[in-house]
């Protein structure tokens, strides 16, 4: 399926030192493996690229896949700490209901938890964009400062 990426989203991808082709490969991989979650109107897929975990938020529109946004975090997803409630998200690969929860993240030798979307059965976790782009981004900066 064709993947449409606007100039604005492309600029955001390049601003994160990522390549557009890498994002297309991420999405193609998620489509082939069904390793993605959906809330009925859009999909969220993730892949570790080098030192960062990259997410593509995309929708199906008129027979093509439109990329809404791309974001990333350096903290490494580890084990699920707890899950507390169902969400609107479903794991396409298994049909499992995605839960609201917390996941351990490791970074620079420390492990701390953060709010996340989780699938307890597979152990998979996803961070939503607002967390990765704001809360976790500042946390990574503070970790770097405090570990210095």
């Amino acid at each position: 399926m064709e993947i449409i990426i606007s100039d604005e989203v492309k600029a955001g991808i390049e601003g994160k030192a990522l390549k557009v082709d890498e994002i297309k490969a991420l999405i193609n991989g998620a489509e082939a493996s069904k390793d993605k979650i959906t809330n009925g109107s859009k999909f969220l897929a993730k892949k570790k690229l080098g030192d960062v975990t990259v997410y593509a938020d995309y929708s199906e529109e008129g027979g093509a896949l439109k990329v809404n946004s791309v974001y990333a975090h350096k903290m490494i997803l580890q084990d699920i700490v707890m899950d507390t409630a169902d969400t609107e998200w479903t794991y396409v690969k298994t049909g499992a209901k995605i839960r609201k929860g917390h996941t351990n993240l490791s970074f620079m030798g420390a492990t701390r938890s953060a709010p996340s979307l989780v699938d307890p059965a597979s152990g998979e976790s996803w961070l939503e964009e607002y967390l990765a782009a704001k809360t976790i981004a500042v946390a990574e900066m503070l970790f770097s400062q405090k570990r210095a």
Partner: protein, 372 residues
């Protein structure tokens, strides 16, 4: 003359450099020196510098400079804070008055049921033109200029239930939780939304803003576990979630003041746990909340803060403080995500200096990393 002229500079290369490394320890597992002591010093710092409790609250820049200065005396935190428990209520129409021996207190309730029905959250623009935001902007501008090594921009939700209750009167609010629960929820939700807007204004200016939020009025002396969950824990979770969405955080200090004998169980699943949070619980019944229970329940999601009873801090018996601090440290010091030693609430204004020294001595004796 500015307040900064009243104080010698902090020892930056000696005390502060060491305290800063120590302060980072529980959050990033870069263990340095010993477990930190945070007695939640507020007006006690002013008293220790020869000023009054009223001075502390009426002159925030003086108050925060006292905190920054006196922290060096007791080898406490390398960061400063200044606050009182009722942010944002003036924007919602309440009048506060300064007292000689207390933080600012409300002159009385201002709303009835009809008033709450029509109550709306205060928007960002109105907050910027109110009193809380200008107060904190001026305060942090002062810190940036005069104590930059101690600056942590903080936005206070503080006691979401307690501050809301003051708007109609605390007794009335407690009644409403039984007789008019929808109105009680509307009142708290309005205060919560106003506090979220305030946090966003702070984050807009500083790029981030530590959050301090607590459950003070909502405790087991007054409410059931279910009521604490509905009126406090869930609202605190919403507050932090929405603040994160708007760029505030990631640091969060959760302060559960008062008796949380059984309601502590409702907080873990309702709060949001970020990579940088501290949880502090004051009491279990009449006794300080046990650090071993705090650790076992919460160490997988947060840095834990144990307590020495604030009542002991004005008792002329430093040995008793030392023993309780020791007990807390031995029980909590190996918490998976770090441990801090505190008081069960703000250190009293007339805390005996020897008692603060006893806490720090205990932290050196039983909280030095690498000795257990």
């Amino acid at each position: 003359m500015g307040y900064e002229e009243l104080f010698p500079k902090n020892d930056l290369s000696g005390w502060h450099a060491n305290a800063a490394k120590r302060f980072a320890s529980p959050f990033v597992d870069n263990f340095h020196d010993r477990i930190d002591v945070d007695p939640i010093i507020l007006s006690n710092a002013a008293v220790n510098c020869g000023f009054t409790i009223r001075d502390f609250y009426e002159k925030p820049e003086l108050g925060i400079h006292c905190v920054g200065y006196i922290s060096e005396l007791f080898d406490l935190l390398p960061v400063t804070h200044w606050f009182f428990s009722l942010p944002w209520v003036r924007e919602l129409g309440m009048t506060l008055e300064y007292k000689e021996t207390l933080p600012p207190v409300p002159t009385g309730p201002i709303l009835d049921a009809d008033g709450v029905e029509g109550l709306e959250p205060i928007c960002k623009t109105d907050l910027q033109n109110g009193s809380t935001i200008p107060l904190f902007f001026n305060l942090y501008d002062y810190v940036q200029k005069n104590l930059p090594h101690t600056l942590v921009p903080i936005s206070y939700g503080f006691d979401l239930v307690g501050a809301s209750a003051e708007l109609i009167g605390v007794e009335e609010f407690i009644m409403w939780t039984f007789t008019e629960p929808d109105l009680a929820h509307k009142l708290v939700d309005t205060y919560v939304q106003t506090s979220i807007n305030g946090a966003e204004v702070m984050a807009d200016k500083f790029g981030f803003a530590m959050l301090i939020v607590g459950s003070v009025l909502a405790n087991n002396d007054i409410f059931s576990d279910d009521a604490v969950e509905e009126f406090s824990a869930k609202k605190m979770g919403t507050y932090v979630d929405q603040c994160f969405r708007r760029g505030a955080g990631p640091q969060v200090f959760y302060h559960l003041c008062g008796n949380h004998e059984t309601d502590y169980k409702v907080f873990k699943e309702n709060l949001l746990w970020s990579p940088f949070n501290v949880l502090h619980i004051g009491y279990q019944g009449q006794k300080v909340f046990p650090s071993d229970l705090l650790k076992s329940e919460f160490q997988d999601v947060t840095t834990c803060m144990g307590s020495v009873d604030t009542k002991l801090m004005i008792n002329p018996n430093p040995a008793k403080v030392y023993e309780q601090a020791k007990e807390s440290l031995l029980a909590g010091r190996d918490s998976k995500k770090g441990f801090i030693l505190g008081n069960s609430c703000e250190t009293p204004p007339y805390t005996i200096p020897g008692n603060l020294l006893a806490m720090v001595r205990a932290a050196r004796d039983f909280g030095t990393y690498g000795t257990w």
